[in-house]
């Protein structure tokens, strides 16, 4: 009897599980068949009425039925769970080619990108970045740089003058036309040896497609004992390779600046990005003129100074292959421009 009932229970359970439509049907079946007050439990209660010699067999059979039903229910559950997850996953599927949500995006000005790059290259090489007044005395911008009053070389600088009486000791007040005034300042501090890079806003009376009245220059300076021309070439080479790339070559040509002797113009080899093959003018360099060291009270017989410097705007544009029809765009502050960098 019990045997019959167990068999029938298993068959009914098998059918019911197969027919179950969802997870709650299965939960109900689980309770109905296997629960504390379920059908299997009922049958087990009847076990006492069976013959004692049959009991072990019936017991084993009941266990088998239980295990089988549990297995059926578990499988069905898994299958429901699976298809439920499938559904969820399907519902959650998105067009992954849509752009993501970006954090608010700030932009540094192109010039500060440039200044940072240049600063990094030199600080890596043991230089310290320094900064000196932009509104400056004639003394530091010219006089101490071996450009006495009325020297025609001064004309090349197209200097802005401040409308204020000159100082007896320092001369006229001006906007510095070159970062080299910082060189005169560093020297006057006489904290030797010196290894510094001065990046500064500079000012000249010029505005057109290729000139802005405020621009930036960097001026590097090493003052130490025993420096010579080969060291200057070494620094130029280091900068050019770090800034423009390892394939670039540097060459120097004789030039004339009052504050250096000898003086050079520095060229770099071009690449296809720059549109032509050959050499492009980069900036100026030289050995500090003995008079410049003397003006700062440094003995030129003991110390040698190497200096180099050029325009940040021009140098950076050259590297990036950025071509601006009008350099003034840099300082027009159109957000369509600023947001690009």
């Amino acid at each position: 009897m019990i045997e019959e009932s167990l068999r029938s229970l298993l068959n009914r359970a098998r059918k019911a599980v197969t027919d179950a439509k969802n997870m709650s049907d299965i939960d109900a079946l689980d309770i109905a068949f296997l629960g504390r007050k379920g059908e299997l439990a009922d049958l087990m209660k009847q076990m006492s009425s069976a013959k004692s010699e049959d009991r072990p067999k019936l017991g084993a059979m009941a266990n088998e039925v239980k295990t089988e039903i549990e297995k059926l229910i578990s499988l069905k559950r898994d299958s429901f769970a699976m298809s439920g997850l499938q559904k969820q996953l399907d519902q959650e599927r998105e067009d992954v080619t849509e752009p993501g949500i970006k954090p608010a995006q700030g932009h540094l000005h192109l010039m500060n990108h440039a200044i940072r790059d240049i600063e990094k290259i030199f600080t890596d090489a043991g230089f310290v970045r320094v900064r000196y007044p932009e509104v400056e005395w004639d003394k530091y911008a010219f006089e101490n740089l071996n450009m006495p009053a009325d020297h025609p070389a001064r004309d090349e600088w197209e200097t802005f003058f401040v409308d204020t009486p000159p100082d007896a000791k320092n001369g006229k007040m001006i906007l510095t036309p070159h970062a080299t005034s910082g060189t005169a300042r560093i020297l006057s501090e006489k904290d030797l040896p010196i290894r510094a890079i001065n990046i500064s806003k500079t000012y000249r009376r010029q505005i057109d497609l290729t000139h802005v009245p405020m621009f930036h220059q960097f001026d590097g300076l090493i003052v130490d004992k025993g420096l010579n021309l080969t060291h200057l070439l070494g620094i130029l080479d280091y900068f050019v390779k770090s800034f423009f790339g390892p394939d670039r070559k540097v060459r120097v040509r004789p030039y004339h600046f009052r504050f250096t002797e000898p003086s050079f113009e520095v060229d770099i080899s071009t690449d296809s990005k720059m549109g032509k093959n050959g050499w492009l003018e980069l900036g100026g360099a030289g050995m500090l003129h003995p008079n410049v060291l003397k003006a700062a009270g440094i003995d030129p017989e003991v110390y040698t100074g190497l200096a180099f410097g050029w325009g940040v705007e021009r140098t950076y544009m050259m590297r990036e292959g950025l071509h601006m029809d009008d350099i003034r765009t840099l300082y027009k502050n159109d957000l369509r421009f600023l947001n690009q960098f």
Partner: protein, 799 residues
């Protein structure tokens, strides 16, 4: 300064055999003057040839046209021509089909195609000089064709010869050479030749002309006086009588044209030629037009004027040095001659001038008069007094050759005896500065080739400076550059000098970068505006320019004042962008310039922040707080600012650390906003970074993580609108020691509340270090909070 040098001409002074202009440029540029560009000559004259007119006939259909048959050597061509001076047997220039000409000397070059003119076929064109770019060489009337026979007297012409060959232009190359301002000696053919000879190790093929003396000196017929010997250390004048002044021969014209100088007449051309050749400017007067037969080098007198050769009349200031006759200035010394004593065709007696002038005086005079010339350009760079005899001798030689006449006076007024400077440098120093050992003989030979007289001993070299270098060689050190550049910088190794700076980076520079990163990282875009502003921009923002540094020579009114605040520029940038961007988040970090009673201005590092948008001022404030947090500025008290017409009185706050102002943040005053036509809300922040950096700290603070749970409770209070959240936060924090933190999260005004009230909501974080608090403990704390709020702020709990 740049000079155009004909390669062909240069070969007259230096042996350049076997060297192309390209090779010349590549080598010389690395050690001497930079050759910037090469312009091969004669290419414009392709398919333009010499023709001989065999016959001229009337044109059947046009009065002003004629038909010429022209011998072109291998062929004959029938050409329709409108030239008024066309005649049989003439030598003419024929542009063949395929050549490029400029019709009537105007417009672009046009390629010539076979044409039929008024029914007659024309196989080319007989050219006027202006149609082939030779007007300056051969000036002519309209409709006049170039008569080669007259233009090139004495030249043997052959029909069919390319014109470029006939003119000697083919094969020539013009070199555009940059000469540095300290080397006016190299700003000449001879100077370039000397450089090239040294660098290329070639022979300099030049001998100075021999100084001639008048057969019978008639010094009385020209009185030369130098009244200002300081500004004119040397003056030479030569009078040549019985000259014939006319058109210069082609060889002379060609040289002048190659350097971009227009031929005038033989006498004037010779002075220009000598200047180009030797670098010493000269002038020539018509001797018969000099009143009193007198030349006086003096300063101009008050009220004197002079009509210069450019046709303009100049009012001379009293510092200007002039060359005057007995009555009037006849030249602004070293700058330009006067029209009244100009030499013209027909002049029969001339005075040649070669002089030395003070470079500064020349420069100042040119600037003051706004009058510039090739002579002035050279004089203001500083020329040697010793250049005069060679130049004068050469000019006299050429005048004699091209104009005839007799030298009757040669005077030389020189104030000081010349002593050539001489400098020494040790061989050890040469090696030390260059960085490689230089052979003693090489060092000496380089200098010798450059014209120095060199003596050496075992240790040092002594060089006497040639006169043409007496302005730029100033010490023994200068000799090193000469030796090094000729040795070749490309031959030096490059050695990186390793080392570490003794000085460390200034804290301000480090914190400036950090601030920039913080603000940029928070989504703000960096603006970069000029340090100078206009009165208009300043005043529009309500800033008075009186306190600002003013430039005495601004480029324009746009760049007149050094700003004392970045805010006016920021407002301007926002206004400029508002049509395209309704939401703006901008910042700028730069110096502001504060005048001081004495000395240079204070250059103070400041940050300006600009926000446009619905919650602009809150965002601006939040950004400032974010910046303070990032910089470790911890001690901050905010105070309302309600009295400044720039700022919105109810939406502006200032942050202080004690008495130190750290920031002003607020919405701009509506009156100001309307001036800029802002329709959105605009807020600004002004952050004096130097103050902020003084309050900044790198130190990291650590508060232990609570061992026992912290409960979070929210409470809202209805209080008067005048109560400050900052005060409430601080006071409520003190209500119980168990309150760890009070955080404002909302303020409400409007429906359900009286006009003068607001509801302010806070989070309270309550916990103990000793135990887990029971709900009742927390309730007790909140009761204390409520009581405190009621007592201090008359607050009602909002339910």
């Amino acid at each position: 300064m740049n000079i155009l040098v004909s390669y062909d001409w240069l070969k007259e002074y230096v042996d350049l055999k076997g060297l192309t202009p390209e090779q010349f440029a590549a080598r010389v540029s690395l050690s001497g003057p930079g050759v910037e560009r090469l312009y091969p000559q004669g290419r414009d004259l392709d398919k333009i040839v010499v023709g001989h007119v065999l016959n001229v006939d009337k044109h059947p259909n046009a009065d002003k046209l004629r038909i010429a048959v022209v011998d072109l050597g291998n062929s004959k061509a029938t050409i329709v021509c409108g030239g008024s001076n066309l005649e049989k047997d003439q030598w003419v220039v024929v542009a063949k089909v395929g050549s490029n000409v400029r019709w009537h000397g105007e417009g672009e070059l046009v390629e010539l195609v076979p044409a039929e003119i008024r029914g007659v076929k024309s196989e080319g064109m007989i050219c006027a000089a202006n149609e082939i770019g030779l007007f300056d060489a051969f000036p002519h009337q309209e409709r006049e064709i170039l008569d080669l026979g007259k233009a090139l007297p004495g030249m043997k012409l052959k029909p069919g010869t390319p014109l470029a060959d006939a003119l000697g232009l083919s094969g020539d190359t013009l070199m555009d050479i940059e000469v540095t301002s300290n080397r006016p000696d190299a700003f000449s053919l001879l100077g370039i030749a000397r450089e090239a000879a040294t660098i290329l190790n070639k022979k300099l093929e030049w001998k100075p002309a021999v100084v001639r003396k008048p057969k019978i000196a008639k010094n009385k017929n020209l009185q030369v006086m130098v009244s200002d010997k300081k500004l004119c250390p040397r003056y030479m004048a030569a009078k040549i009588e019985g000259v014939t002044v006319g058109q210069s021969p082609w060889w002379m014209k060609r040289r002048l044209l190659s350097a971009g100088i227009r031929p005038i007449n033989t006498a004037v051309d010779i002075t220009n030629f000598v200047m180009l050749e030797l670098g010493q400017p000269m002038h020539v007067f018509d001797a018969e037009k000099l009143a009193g037969n007198k030349l006086n080098v003096r300063k101009a007198k008050a009220g004197e004027t002079m009509q210069a050769l450019d046709g303009k009349t100049y009012k001379l200031h009293e510092d200007a040095l002039v060359i005057a006759d007995a009555e009037h200035p006849q030249a602004v010394a070293g700058v330009m001659g006067a029209e009244t004593s100009a030499v013209t065709i027909g002049t029969t007696s001339i005075v040649l001038e070669a002089a030395s002038f003070d470079p500064v005086s020349i420069r100042r005079t040119a600037r003051k008069l706004n009058l510039y010339s090739d002579a002035q350009l050279r004089f203001e760079k500083g020329l040697s007094t010793q250049a005069l005899p060679d130049a004068m001798a050469r000019a006299i030689e050429l005048i004699t050759e091209l104009c005839g006449g007799e030298l009757t006076t040669l005077q030389d007024v020189q104030t000081a005896k010349y002593k050539a400077p001489s400098y020494s440098i040790s061989f050890a120093k040469i090696d030390e500065l260059i960085g490689v050992p230089i052979k003693k003989t090489d060092a000496a030979s380089t200098l010798k080739r450059l014209g120095f007289a060199v003596k050496t001993d075992a240790k040092k070299l002594t060089a006497t400076v040639p006169w043409w270098r007496d302005h730029d060689i100033e010490s023994g050190r200068d000799l090193v550059e000469e030796i090094a550049r000729v040795y070749g910088y490309a031959n030096l190794p490059s050695v990186f000098p390793a080392g570490v700076s003794k000085r460390k980076t200034d804290r301000e520079l480090i914190l400036e970068q950090k601030t920039r990163d913080l603000v940029c990282g928070a989504g703000y875009t960096e603006a970069f505006t000029y340090s100078f502003i206009s009165k208009q921009i300043a005043e529009r923002a309500g800033f008075d320019t009186k306190s600002m540094l003013k430039l005495s020579n601004p480029l324009s009114a746009d760049f007149e004042f050094m700003r004392t605040s970045l805010l006016p520029s920021m407002l301007d940038v926002m206004a400029e962008n508002q049509d395209r961007f309704r939401d703006q988040h901008l910042f700028e970090i730069a110096h502001a310039y504060y005048t001081k009673d004495k000395g240079l201005p204070n250059e103070q590092l400041e940050m300006a922040v600009g926000v446009m948008g619905d919650r602009a001022w809150k965002e601006a404030r939040g950004l400032v707080e974010h910046t303070f947090d990032g910089l470790g500025v911890r001690n901050i008290a905010w105070k309302p600012l309600a009295t400044d017409p720039f700022w919105h009185p109810g939406r502006t706050a200032q942050a202080f650390d004690g008495d130190r102002l750290l920031a002003t943040v607020g919405e701009i005053h509506p009156n100001l906003a309307s001036k800029y036509k802002f329709d959105g809300r605009v807020a600004l922040a002004h952050v004096p970074l130097e103050n902020v950096f003084d309050s900044a700290s790198d130190a990291k603070l650590y508060t232990p993580i609570p061992t026992y749970p912290v409960s979070k409770r929210d409470a809202a209070f209805v209080v008067s609108r005048d109560i400050h959240v900052q005060d409430m936060t601080a006071a409520l924090m003190r209500a119980s020691k168990l309150i760890r933190h009070v955080e404002w999260f909302d303020t409400y005004r409007g429906k359900g509340l009286p006009e003068d009230k607001k509801s302010v909501a806070f989070h309270f974080f309550i916990g103990s270090d000793e135990k887990t608090l029971e709900t009742s403990d927390v309730d007790q704390v909140m009761d204390l909070v409520m009581k405190e709020a009621k007592n201090i702020f008359n607050a009602q709990p909002r339910i």
